[in-house]
């Protein structure tokens, strides 16, 4: 058996090729995941609030919740109705429009949330006299939170903006 064939077998053993084949088959359909992104956004928001509201152990819990939300968000981008950038097969004009609208709504929400959160963090830090360490940890928490929104909100928008089409 040649080296490329051995490598192919190894790749097959991971199960990823089978998953990719199933994914390619479902790109025609894209699941409407209405409540999963809501849960992910709620977890991320709770995580962000926990991470900035109090020092450890709430900080650790906050980052743990943000990590769970991020993991869910990454799954959404594979299974949800939005086809990933760079995918040409099975992407038509409606898919492109849905993707464009979803990301536009996401970026608008992220911009607003980022501005409000920065103002709120600065305000709390001044009024509540946060120590330096807490301020330092609150900024990566905000960045992580915005990253969670980036991977969850497009699916949230697309899943609620459209109703699934029944098969003939």
């Amino acid at each position: 058996m040649s080296l490329p064939e051995r490598l192919d077998d190894l790749a097959h053993m991971t199960g990823f090729p089978q998953f990719s084949a199933r994914f390619a088959a479902r790109t025609q359909h894209g699941l409407h995941l209405r409540w999963t992104p809501v849960i992910a956004v709620a977890l991320a928001t709770a995580g962000f609030v926990a991470a900035v509201s109090a020092p450890s152990p709430a900080l650790t819990l906050g980052f743990a919740l943000l990590s769970v939300a991020q993991a869910i968000g990454l799954g959404l981008s594979v299974l949800g109705p939005i086809k990933p950038f760079g995918t040409l097969k099975g992407v038509d004009e409606r898919d492109r429009q849905l993707r464009r609208d979803s990301y536009l709504a996401t970026f608008m929400a992220m911009s607003g949330i980022a501005i409000l959160a920065l103002i709120a963090l600065a305000g709390f830090a001044l009024v509540d006299r946060w120590d330096r360490e807490r301020v330092i940890f609150s900024l990566p928490a905000l960045a992580f939170y915005l990253l969670c929104l980036l991977v969850t909100m497009p699916t949230l928008y697309a899943s609620w903006a459209t109703r699934p089409i029944e098969d003939e």
Binding site: Q28, H29, G90, D92, E93, R94, D95, Q97, T162, R163, I165, E166, E168
Partner: protein, 81 residues
Amino acid sequence: MKIHNRIALFRSERGTSRRELADAVDVNPQTIGYLERGDYNPSLELAMKIAAFFDVAVEHLFSFEPFESVAVALRRIDAAE
């Protein structure tokens, strides 16, 4: 602005499935479903491709005003005769 269409009627008349029409105009079958349900307004290119597939003018398939139903059209023709 909502664009009304008669794709479902033409498709039914010709016995064409969503998938056959979708393959002919190079979109996903779901997009045909969204078009028929009025949830998506097609681009000019897609509208012209669909009209060409059914061999009719674009305005016979798409309109800013709701299309007359078949029953109403038949009654109107009967009344005219």
